[in-house]
Point group: C2
Chain length 257, copies 2
Protein backbone atom coordinates (compact mmCIF):
# COMPACT_ATOMS: atom_id res chain seq x y z
CA UNK A 1 0.00 0.00 0.00
CA UNK A 2 1.29 3.44 -0.89
CA UNK A 3 2.31 5.66 2.01
CA UNK A 4 -0.40 8.06 3.14
CA UNK A 5 1.14 11.53 3.33
CA UNK A 6 -0.49 14.58 4.91
CA UNK A 7 0.84 17.93 3.69
CA UNK A 8 0.19 21.29 5.32
CA UNK A 9 1.83 24.68 5.76
CA UNK A 10 1.27 28.05 7.39
CA UNK A 11 1.39 30.29 4.31
CA UNK A 12 -1.95 29.00 3.06
CA UNK A 13 -3.04 26.57 0.39
CA UNK A 14 -2.25 28.86 -2.56
CA UNK A 15 1.38 29.51 -1.53
CA UNK A 16 4.07 28.50 -3.99
CA UNK A 17 6.05 26.55 -1.37
CA UNK A 18 3.37 23.98 -0.58
CA UNK A 19 2.40 23.51 -4.24
CA UNK A 20 6.00 22.92 -5.34
CA UNK A 21 6.37 20.43 -2.49
CA UNK A 22 3.25 18.48 -3.44
CA UNK A 23 4.36 18.17 -7.05
CA UNK A 24 7.85 17.06 -5.97
CA UNK A 25 6.74 14.30 -3.57
CA UNK A 26 3.47 13.04 -5.05
CA UNK A 27 5.23 10.04 -6.61
CA UNK A 28 6.12 8.87 -3.09
CA UNK A 29 2.58 8.23 -1.83
CA UNK A 30 -1.05 9.27 -1.74
CA UNK A 31 -1.08 12.95 -0.84
CA UNK A 32 -3.77 14.64 1.23
CA UNK A 33 -3.27 18.38 1.50
CA UNK A 34 -5.05 20.18 4.34
CA UNK A 35 -3.80 23.74 4.50
CA UNK A 36 -5.09 27.05 5.87
CA UNK A 37 -7.38 29.11 3.62
CA UNK A 38 -5.01 32.07 3.99
CA UNK A 39 -1.72 33.05 5.64
CA UNK A 40 -1.26 31.77 9.22
CA UNK A 41 2.36 32.72 9.81
CA UNK A 42 3.61 32.83 13.40
CA UNK A 43 0.63 30.84 14.67
CA UNK A 44 2.88 28.48 16.64
CA UNK A 45 0.79 25.58 18.02
CA UNK A 46 -2.36 27.69 18.29
CA UNK A 47 -5.57 25.69 17.89
CA UNK A 48 -9.12 26.87 17.38
CA UNK A 49 -11.23 26.26 20.48
CA UNK A 50 -13.64 29.20 20.53
CA UNK A 51 -14.87 29.05 16.93
CA UNK A 52 -16.17 26.24 14.72
CA UNK A 53 -13.75 24.73 12.25
CA UNK A 54 -14.69 24.32 8.59
CA UNK A 55 -12.97 22.82 5.57
CA UNK A 56 -13.69 22.61 1.85
CA UNK A 57 -12.25 20.60 -1.03
CA UNK A 58 -9.89 22.86 -3.00
CA UNK A 59 -8.78 20.58 -5.86
CA UNK A 60 -8.14 16.99 -6.80
CA UNK A 61 -5.70 15.44 -9.26
CA UNK A 62 -4.26 11.94 -9.64
CA UNK A 63 -2.68 10.98 -6.30
CA UNK A 64 -3.53 14.30 -4.63
CA UNK A 65 -6.64 15.57 -2.87
CA UNK A 66 -6.46 19.03 -1.32
CA UNK A 67 -8.61 20.84 1.24
CA UNK A 68 -8.50 24.33 2.64
CA UNK A 69 -9.43 24.93 6.27
CA UNK A 70 -10.37 28.07 8.20
CA UNK A 71 -8.08 27.14 11.11
CA UNK A 72 -4.43 27.18 12.05
CA UNK A 73 -1.72 24.79 10.80
CA UNK A 74 -2.24 22.67 13.95
CA UNK A 75 -5.97 22.57 13.24
CA UNK A 76 -5.21 21.42 9.68
CA UNK A 77 -3.17 18.48 10.99
CA UNK A 78 -5.96 17.45 13.35
CA UNK A 79 -8.69 17.86 10.70
CA UNK A 80 -6.59 15.93 8.17
CA UNK A 81 -5.69 13.04 10.46
CA UNK A 82 -8.98 12.75 12.36
CA UNK A 83 -11.68 13.79 9.88
CA UNK A 84 -10.49 13.68 6.27
CA UNK A 85 -8.02 10.80 5.97
CA UNK A 86 -9.31 7.25 6.25
CA UNK A 87 -6.39 6.21 8.47
CA UNK A 88 -3.74 8.05 10.46
CA UNK A 89 -1.12 9.29 7.96
CA UNK A 90 2.29 7.62 7.73
CA UNK A 91 4.01 10.94 7.30
CA UNK A 92 3.32 14.63 7.78
CA UNK A 93 5.24 17.21 5.77
CA UNK A 94 4.75 20.89 6.60
CA UNK A 95 6.01 23.54 4.18
CA UNK A 96 7.91 24.48 2.28
CA UNK A 97 7.66 27.62 4.36
CA UNK A 98 8.43 31.02 2.87
CA UNK A 99 10.84 32.16 5.62
CA UNK A 100 13.37 30.80 8.11
CA UNK A 101 12.40 28.70 11.11
CA UNK A 102 15.83 28.46 12.69
CA UNK A 103 16.70 29.29 16.31
CA UNK A 104 13.83 30.61 18.46
CA UNK A 105 11.69 31.08 15.35
CA UNK A 106 10.78 27.44 15.90
CA UNK A 107 8.74 28.60 18.92
CA UNK A 108 6.55 30.95 16.85
CA UNK A 109 6.46 28.94 13.64
CA UNK A 110 3.14 27.64 12.35
CA UNK A 111 5.06 25.35 10.01
CA UNK A 112 6.77 23.71 12.98
CA UNK A 113 3.57 23.95 15.06
CA UNK A 114 2.01 21.58 12.53
CA UNK A 115 5.05 19.29 12.74
CA UNK A 116 4.86 19.23 16.55
CA UNK A 117 1.19 18.39 16.31
CA UNK A 118 1.85 15.48 13.98
CA UNK A 119 4.65 14.32 16.26
CA UNK A 120 2.29 14.41 19.24
CA UNK A 121 -0.08 12.08 17.34
CA UNK A 122 2.76 9.64 16.69
CA UNK A 123 3.11 10.61 13.00
CA UNK A 124 6.64 10.98 11.58
CA UNK A 125 6.71 14.72 10.90
CA UNK A 126 8.98 17.09 8.99
CA UNK A 127 8.91 20.87 8.77
CA UNK A 128 10.63 22.38 5.70
CA UNK A 129 11.52 26.06 5.38
CA UNK A 130 13.33 28.25 2.87
CA UNK A 131 15.05 31.37 4.20
CA UNK A 132 13.22 33.75 1.87
CA UNK A 133 9.92 35.56 2.29
CA UNK A 134 9.59 36.11 -1.47
CA UNK A 135 6.16 34.72 -2.50
CA UNK A 136 7.71 33.79 -5.85
CA UNK A 137 10.95 32.33 -4.42
CA UNK A 138 12.75 29.59 -6.37
CA UNK A 139 12.34 26.31 -4.48
CA UNK A 140 14.48 24.20 -6.85
CA UNK A 141 17.50 23.77 -4.57
CA UNK A 142 15.36 23.29 -1.44
CA UNK A 143 13.37 20.57 -3.20
CA UNK A 144 16.52 18.81 -4.40
CA UNK A 145 17.33 18.15 -0.74
CA UNK A 146 13.77 17.91 0.63
CA UNK A 147 12.75 14.93 -1.50
CA UNK A 148 15.59 12.68 -0.23
CA UNK A 149 14.76 13.67 3.37
CA UNK A 150 11.12 12.71 2.84
CA UNK A 151 12.19 9.42 1.23
CA UNK A 152 14.61 8.69 4.07
CA UNK A 153 12.01 9.33 6.79
CA UNK A 154 9.42 7.22 4.92
CA UNK A 155 11.98 4.41 4.73
CA UNK A 156 13.58 4.64 8.19
CA UNK A 157 11.05 6.49 10.36
CA UNK A 158 11.86 8.84 13.24
CA UNK A 159 12.12 8.10 16.98
CA UNK A 160 8.98 8.58 19.07
CA UNK A 161 8.32 12.21 20.01
CA UNK A 162 10.95 13.56 17.59
CA UNK A 163 10.23 15.62 14.47
CA UNK A 164 12.57 17.40 12.06
CA UNK A 165 13.04 21.12 11.52
CA UNK A 166 14.75 21.53 8.13
CA UNK A 167 15.89 24.96 6.89
CA UNK A 168 17.48 25.93 3.58
CA UNK A 169 19.48 29.08 2.87
CA UNK A 170 18.24 30.97 -0.18
CA UNK A 171 21.29 30.67 -2.40
CA UNK A 172 21.72 29.41 -5.99
CA UNK A 173 23.51 26.23 -4.95
CA UNK A 174 23.55 24.50 -1.54
CA UNK A 175 26.85 23.01 -0.34
CA UNK A 176 24.98 20.06 1.17
CA UNK A 177 23.05 19.18 4.32
CA UNK A 178 24.17 19.31 7.97
CA UNK A 179 22.62 18.11 11.20
CA UNK A 180 22.55 21.08 13.60
CA UNK A 181 21.22 22.09 17.00
CA UNK A 182 18.86 25.01 17.62
CA UNK A 183 20.84 28.24 17.96
CA UNK A 184 20.35 30.45 21.03
CA UNK A 185 18.92 33.74 19.84
CA UNK A 186 16.24 36.32 20.34
CA UNK A 187 14.42 39.07 18.53
CA UNK A 188 15.26 42.69 19.29
CA UNK A 189 11.74 43.91 18.82
CA UNK A 190 9.95 47.18 18.70
CA UNK A 191 6.54 48.40 17.63
CA UNK A 192 6.00 50.92 14.87
CA UNK A 193 3.23 53.14 16.18
CA UNK A 194 0.90 54.48 13.50
CA UNK A 195 -2.42 56.31 13.31
CA UNK A 196 -5.28 55.03 11.15
CA UNK A 197 -7.50 57.32 9.01
CA UNK A 198 -9.95 57.62 11.91
CA UNK A 199 -7.20 58.90 14.24
CA UNK A 200 -6.88 55.68 16.25
CA UNK A 201 -3.44 54.39 17.24
CA UNK A 202 -2.25 50.96 16.18
CA UNK A 203 1.06 49.06 16.22
CA UNK A 204 3.03 46.82 13.88
CA UNK A 205 5.62 44.49 15.35
CA UNK A 206 9.05 44.74 13.78
CA UNK A 207 12.60 43.90 14.79
CA UNK A 208 15.92 42.20 14.08
CA UNK A 209 17.12 38.75 14.97
CA UNK A 210 20.09 38.51 17.35
CA UNK A 211 22.27 35.39 17.14
CA UNK A 212 23.46 34.83 20.72
CA UNK A 213 26.05 32.23 19.67
CA UNK A 214 27.74 33.96 16.73
CA UNK A 215 30.92 31.86 17.08
CA UNK A 216 29.29 28.43 17.28
CA UNK A 217 29.63 26.19 14.21
CA UNK A 218 27.13 23.46 15.11
CA UNK A 219 23.95 25.56 15.20
CA UNK A 220 21.22 25.83 12.56
CA UNK A 221 22.16 29.50 12.08
CA UNK A 222 25.84 28.64 11.54
CA UNK A 223 25.11 25.84 9.11
CA UNK A 224 22.77 28.03 7.06
CA UNK A 225 25.31 30.86 7.01
CA UNK A 226 27.90 28.38 5.70
CA UNK A 227 25.65 27.49 2.75
CA UNK A 228 24.21 24.17 3.95
CA UNK A 229 20.64 23.09 4.65
CA UNK A 230 20.18 22.42 8.37
CA UNK A 231 18.37 19.42 9.88
CA UNK A 232 17.45 19.84 13.53
CA UNK A 233 15.69 17.08 15.51
CA UNK A 234 13.05 18.60 17.80
CA UNK A 235 11.07 17.11 20.65
CA UNK A 236 8.05 17.99 22.76
CA UNK A 237 9.60 17.89 26.22
CA UNK A 238 10.54 21.43 27.22
CA UNK A 239 11.62 20.47 30.76
CA UNK A 240 14.97 22.02 31.69
CA UNK A 241 16.60 19.03 33.38
CA UNK A 242 19.70 20.95 34.42
CA UNK A 243 17.81 23.47 36.55
CA UNK A 244 15.35 20.79 37.69
CA UNK A 245 18.16 19.20 39.73
CA UNK A 246 18.89 22.49 41.51
CA UNK A 247 15.33 23.31 42.49
CA UNK A 248 14.87 21.38 45.75
CA UNK A 249 13.97 24.59 47.60
CA UNK A 250 10.82 24.85 45.47
CA UNK A 251 9.47 21.60 47.00
CA UNK A 252 7.88 21.70 50.45
CA UNK A 253 4.92 20.26 52.33
CA UNK A 254 1.87 22.19 53.46
CA UNK A 255 2.91 21.73 57.13
CA UNK A 256 6.14 23.65 56.49
CA UNK A 257 4.36 26.84 55.43
Amino acid sequence: MRPQILVTNDDGITAKGINCLVQAIKHLGDITVVAPDGPRSAQSNAITVHDPLRYWKQYEEPGVVAYRCNGTPSDCVKVGAHSIMKKCPDLLVSGINHGSNTSVNVIYSGTMGAAFDGCMMGIDSIGLSLCSHDPDADFTEALKYSVPIVEKVLREGLPHDVCLNVNFPYIPQLRGLRVARQCRGRWLERFEERVDPLGRKYSWLTGEFLNMEPDATDTDEAVIAAGYGSVTPCHLDVTDYTYLKQMSSFSYDAEEV
Copy 2:
Protein backbone atom coordinates in the same frame (compact mmCIF):
# COMPACT_ATOMS: atom_id res chain seq x y z
CA MET B 1 12.91 50.92 43.51
CA ARG B 2 9.90 48.61 43.56
CA PRO B 3 10.01 45.64 41.19
CA GLN B 4 8.24 46.24 37.88
CA ILE B 5 5.89 43.31 37.29
CA LEU B 6 4.07 42.58 34.04
CA VAL B 7 0.96 40.41 34.40
CA THR B 8 -0.90 38.73 31.55
CA ASN B 9 -3.03 35.65 30.87
CA ASP B 10 -4.88 33.87 28.06
CA ASP B 11 -8.40 33.92 29.51
CA GLY B 12 -8.75 37.65 29.00
CA ILE B 13 -8.55 40.71 31.21
CA THR B 14 -11.92 40.12 32.91
CA ALA B 15 -11.14 36.54 34.02
CA LYS B 16 -11.24 35.81 37.74
CA GLY B 17 -7.80 34.15 37.72
CA ILE B 18 -5.83 37.21 36.62
CA ASN B 19 -7.73 39.58 38.85
CA CYS B 20 -7.22 37.42 41.96
CA LEU B 21 -3.54 37.20 41.07
CA VAL B 22 -3.13 40.96 40.70
CA GLN B 23 -4.75 41.61 44.08
CA ALA B 24 -2.58 38.95 45.73
CA ILE B 25 0.78 40.21 44.43
CA LYS B 26 0.29 43.96 44.08
CA HIS B 27 2.13 44.58 47.39
CA LEU B 28 5.26 43.06 45.81
CA GLY B 29 5.82 45.70 43.12
CA ASP B 30 4.34 48.05 40.56
CA ILE B 31 1.93 46.00 38.48
CA THR B 32 1.28 46.55 34.78
CA VAL B 33 -1.44 44.30 33.43
CA VAL B 34 -1.58 43.78 29.66
CA ALA B 35 -4.08 41.05 28.89
CA PRO B 36 -6.18 40.00 25.90
CA ASP B 37 -9.53 41.71 25.41
CA GLY B 38 -11.22 38.30 25.37
CA PRO B 39 -10.42 34.60 25.68
CA ARG B 40 -7.25 33.45 23.87
CA SER B 41 -6.96 29.89 25.17
CA ALA B 42 -4.74 27.46 23.26
CA GLN B 43 -2.99 30.28 21.39
CA SER B 44 0.44 28.85 22.17
CA ASN B 45 3.15 31.33 21.09
CA ALA B 46 1.03 32.75 18.28
CA ILE B 47 1.77 36.39 17.48
CA THR B 48 -0.14 38.85 15.35
CA VAL B 49 1.73 39.63 12.14
CA HIS B 50 -1.04 40.16 9.57
CA ASP B 51 -3.24 42.58 11.53
CA PRO B 52 -2.53 45.77 13.43
CA LEU B 53 -2.32 45.51 17.20
CA ARG B 54 -4.24 47.87 19.45
CA TYR B 55 -4.48 48.36 23.20
CA TRP B 56 -6.60 50.46 25.55
CA LYS B 57 -6.39 51.35 29.23
CA GLN B 58 -8.86 49.17 31.13
CA TYR B 59 -8.50 50.46 34.71
CA GLU B 60 -6.06 52.02 37.15
CA GLU B 61 -5.78 51.74 40.92
CA PRO B 62 -2.94 52.39 43.38
CA GLY B 63 0.05 50.30 42.26
CA VAL B 64 -1.79 48.79 39.29
CA VAL B 65 -2.38 49.98 35.74
CA ALA B 66 -4.19 47.63 33.38
CA TYR B 67 -4.56 47.50 29.59
CA ARG B 68 -6.51 45.22 27.31
CA CYS B 69 -5.08 44.28 23.91
CA ASN B 70 -6.65 42.81 20.78
CA GLY B 71 -3.79 40.31 20.36
CA THR B 72 -2.58 37.03 21.77
CA PRO B 73 -0.89 36.48 25.16
CA SER B 74 2.52 36.68 23.40
CA ASP B 75 1.48 39.97 21.81
CA CYS B 76 0.48 41.27 25.25
CA VAL B 77 3.96 40.53 26.62
CA LYS B 78 5.60 42.33 23.70
CA VAL B 79 3.24 45.32 23.89
CA GLY B 80 3.70 45.52 27.67
CA ALA B 81 7.50 45.29 27.64
CA HIS B 82 8.19 47.32 24.48
CA SER B 83 5.41 49.92 24.31
CA ILE B 84 3.65 50.42 27.65
CA MET B 85 6.24 49.93 30.39
CA LYS B 86 8.98 52.51 30.81
CA LYS B 87 11.66 49.83 31.30
CA CYS B 88 11.84 46.10 30.70
CA PRO B 89 9.91 44.39 33.52
CA ASP B 90 11.76 42.56 36.30
CA LEU B 91 9.19 39.77 36.31
CA LEU B 92 6.41 38.41 34.13
CA VAL B 93 3.57 36.45 35.71
CA SER B 94 1.03 34.79 33.41
CA GLY B 95 -2.23 33.46 34.85
CA ILE B 96 -3.70 32.24 36.97
CA ASN B 97 -5.04 30.17 34.11
CA HIS B 98 -8.45 28.53 34.32
CA GLY B 99 -7.31 25.03 33.29
CA SER B 100 -4.32 22.70 33.47
CA ASN B 101 -1.08 23.29 31.56
CA THR B 102 0.67 20.08 32.50
CA SER B 103 2.27 17.60 30.06
CA VAL B 104 1.89 18.44 26.35
CA ASN B 105 -0.68 21.11 27.19
CA VAL B 106 2.37 23.34 27.66
CA ILE B 107 2.78 23.26 23.85
CA TYR B 108 -0.70 24.68 23.19
CA SER B 109 -0.96 26.95 26.22
CA GLY B 110 -1.33 30.69 25.74
CA THR B 111 -0.48 31.12 29.43
CA MET B 112 2.86 29.41 28.89
CA GLY B 113 3.25 31.03 25.46
CA ALA B 114 3.39 34.35 27.29
CA ALA B 115 5.90 32.94 29.78
CA PHE B 116 8.11 31.66 26.93
CA ASP B 117 7.92 35.08 25.32
CA GLY B 118 9.01 36.80 28.52
CA CYS B 119 11.79 34.24 28.91
CA MET B 120 12.98 34.94 25.37
CA MET B 121 13.29 38.64 26.28
CA GLY B 122 15.40 37.80 29.32
CA ILE B 123 12.58 38.46 31.81
CA ASP B 124 12.13 36.03 34.73
CA SER B 125 8.78 34.48 33.81
CA ILE B 126 6.24 32.30 35.59
CA GLY B 127 3.07 30.65 34.25
CA LEU B 128 0.46 29.76 36.88
CA SER B 129 -2.48 27.43 36.20
CA LEU B 130 -5.31 25.93 38.21
CA CYS B 131 -6.71 22.59 37.06
CA SER B 132 -10.28 23.83 36.76
CA HIS B 133 -12.11 25.44 33.85
CA ASP B 134 -14.78 26.89 36.16
CA PRO B 135 -14.92 30.66 35.45
CA ASP B 136 -15.81 31.15 39.14
CA ALA B 137 -13.20 28.72 40.53
CA ASP B 138 -11.82 29.32 44.03
CA PHE B 139 -8.19 30.47 43.70
CA THR B 140 -7.49 30.66 47.45
CA GLU B 141 -5.23 27.58 47.71
CA ALA B 142 -3.48 28.32 44.40
CA LEU B 143 -2.71 31.86 45.58
CA LYS B 144 -1.40 30.64 48.94
CA TYR B 145 1.40 28.90 47.00
CA SER B 146 1.68 31.30 44.06
CA VAL B 147 2.62 34.34 46.15
CA PRO B 148 5.70 32.66 47.74
CA ILE B 149 6.81 31.47 44.29
CA VAL B 150 6.58 35.03 42.95
CA GLU B 151 8.47 36.34 46.01
CA LYS B 152 11.16 33.66 45.62
CA VAL B 153 11.71 34.40 41.91
CA LEU B 154 11.80 38.16 42.57
CA ARG B 155 14.43 37.52 45.27
CA GLU B 156 16.55 34.81 43.62
CA GLY B 157 15.84 35.11 39.89
CA LEU B 158 15.80 32.25 37.37
CA PRO B 159 18.58 30.96 35.10
CA HIS B 160 18.80 32.42 31.58
CA ASP B 161 16.33 30.87 29.14
CA VAL B 162 14.37 29.08 31.88
CA CYS B 163 10.81 29.88 32.92
CA LEU B 164 8.45 28.12 35.33
CA ASN B 165 5.27 26.19 34.56
CA VAL B 166 3.31 25.94 37.83
CA ASN B 167 0.10 23.90 38.05
CA PHE B 168 -2.27 23.45 40.98
CA PRO B 169 -4.80 20.65 41.43
CA TYR B 170 -8.30 21.92 42.19
CA ILE B 171 -8.77 20.49 45.67
CA PRO B 172 -9.76 22.14 48.98
CA GLN B 173 -6.29 21.81 50.49
CA LEU B 174 -2.93 21.27 48.73
CA ARG B 175 -0.42 18.89 50.33
CA GLY B 176 2.43 21.17 49.30
CA LEU B 177 4.57 21.91 46.26
CA ARG B 178 6.80 19.57 44.24
CA VAL B 179 9.31 20.11 41.46
CA ALA B 180 8.33 17.86 38.54
CA ARG B 181 9.23 17.14 34.95
CA GLN B 182 6.81 17.40 32.01
CA CYS B 183 4.83 14.18 31.67
CA ARG B 184 4.73 12.34 28.33
CA GLY B 185 1.17 12.40 27.11
CA ARG B 186 -1.09 13.12 24.20
CA TRP B 187 -4.68 13.95 23.41
CA LEU B 188 -6.96 11.30 21.95
CA GLU B 189 -8.86 13.72 19.80
CA ARG B 190 -11.88 13.63 17.60
CA PHE B 191 -14.11 16.20 15.95
CA GLU B 192 -17.80 16.52 16.66
CA GLU B 193 -19.34 17.17 13.25
CA ARG B 194 -22.38 19.43 13.33
CA VAL B 195 -24.57 21.27 10.85
CA ASP B 196 -25.33 24.98 11.26
CA PRO B 197 -28.82 26.51 10.65
CA LEU B 198 -27.85 27.20 7.03
CA GLY B 199 -27.02 23.52 6.45
CA ARG B 200 -23.23 23.98 6.41
CA LYS B 201 -21.00 21.48 8.18
CA TYR B 202 -18.65 22.54 10.93
CA SER B 203 -16.50 20.79 13.55
CA TRP B 204 -15.68 21.18 17.23
CA LEU B 205 -12.49 19.65 18.55
CA THR B 206 -12.93 17.40 21.58
CA GLY B 207 -10.99 14.57 23.21
CA GLU B 208 -9.45 13.01 26.29
CA PHE B 209 -5.95 13.35 27.65
CA LEU B 210 -3.82 10.18 27.73
CA ASN B 211 -1.05 10.00 30.34
CA MET B 212 1.68 7.95 28.65
CA GLU B 213 3.65 7.50 31.89
CA PRO B 214 0.91 6.47 34.33
CA ASP B 215 3.37 4.79 36.73
CA ALA B 216 5.91 7.63 36.96
CA THR B 217 5.98 9.58 40.23
CA ASP B 218 8.18 12.51 39.19
CA THR B 219 5.97 14.03 36.47
CA ASP B 220 3.70 17.06 36.70
CA GLU B 221 0.68 14.79 36.19
CA ALA B 222 1.76 12.47 39.03
CA VAL B 223 2.45 15.30 41.45
CA ILE B 224 -0.91 16.94 40.73
CA ALA B 225 -2.71 13.60 41.13
CA ALA B 226 -1.01 13.21 44.53
CA GLY B 227 -2.42 16.55 45.69
CA TYR B 228 0.62 18.79 45.27
CA GLY B 229 1.20 21.85 43.14
CA SER B 230 3.80 21.12 40.44
CA VAL B 231 6.70 23.39 39.47
CA THR B 232 8.30 22.52 36.13
CA PRO B 233 11.28 24.46 34.75
CA CYS B 234 10.89 24.96 31.00
CA HIS B 235 13.34 26.14 28.37
CA LEU B 236 13.29 27.33 24.78
CA ASP B 237 15.67 24.80 23.21
CA VAL B 238 13.61 22.00 21.67
CA THR B 239 16.62 20.22 20.12
CA ASP B 240 16.55 16.48 20.78
CA TYR B 241 20.22 15.95 21.66
CA THR B 242 19.89 12.17 21.95
CA TYR B 243 18.76 11.68 18.36
CA LEU B 244 21.07 14.46 17.15
CA LYS B 245 24.05 12.18 17.93
CA GLN B 246 22.62 9.37 15.78
CA MET B 247 21.84 11.45 12.70
CA SER B 248 25.16 11.47 10.85
CA SER B 249 23.52 9.96 7.75
CA PHE B 250 21.48 13.16 7.36
CA SER B 251 24.67 15.15 6.72
CA TYR B 252 26.27 15.05 3.29
CA ASP B 253 27.95 17.33 0.79
CA ALA B 254 26.48 18.42 -2.54
CA GLU B 255 29.18 16.42 -4.40
CA GLU B 256 27.90 13.20 -2.82
CA VAL B 257 24.39 13.51 -4.33
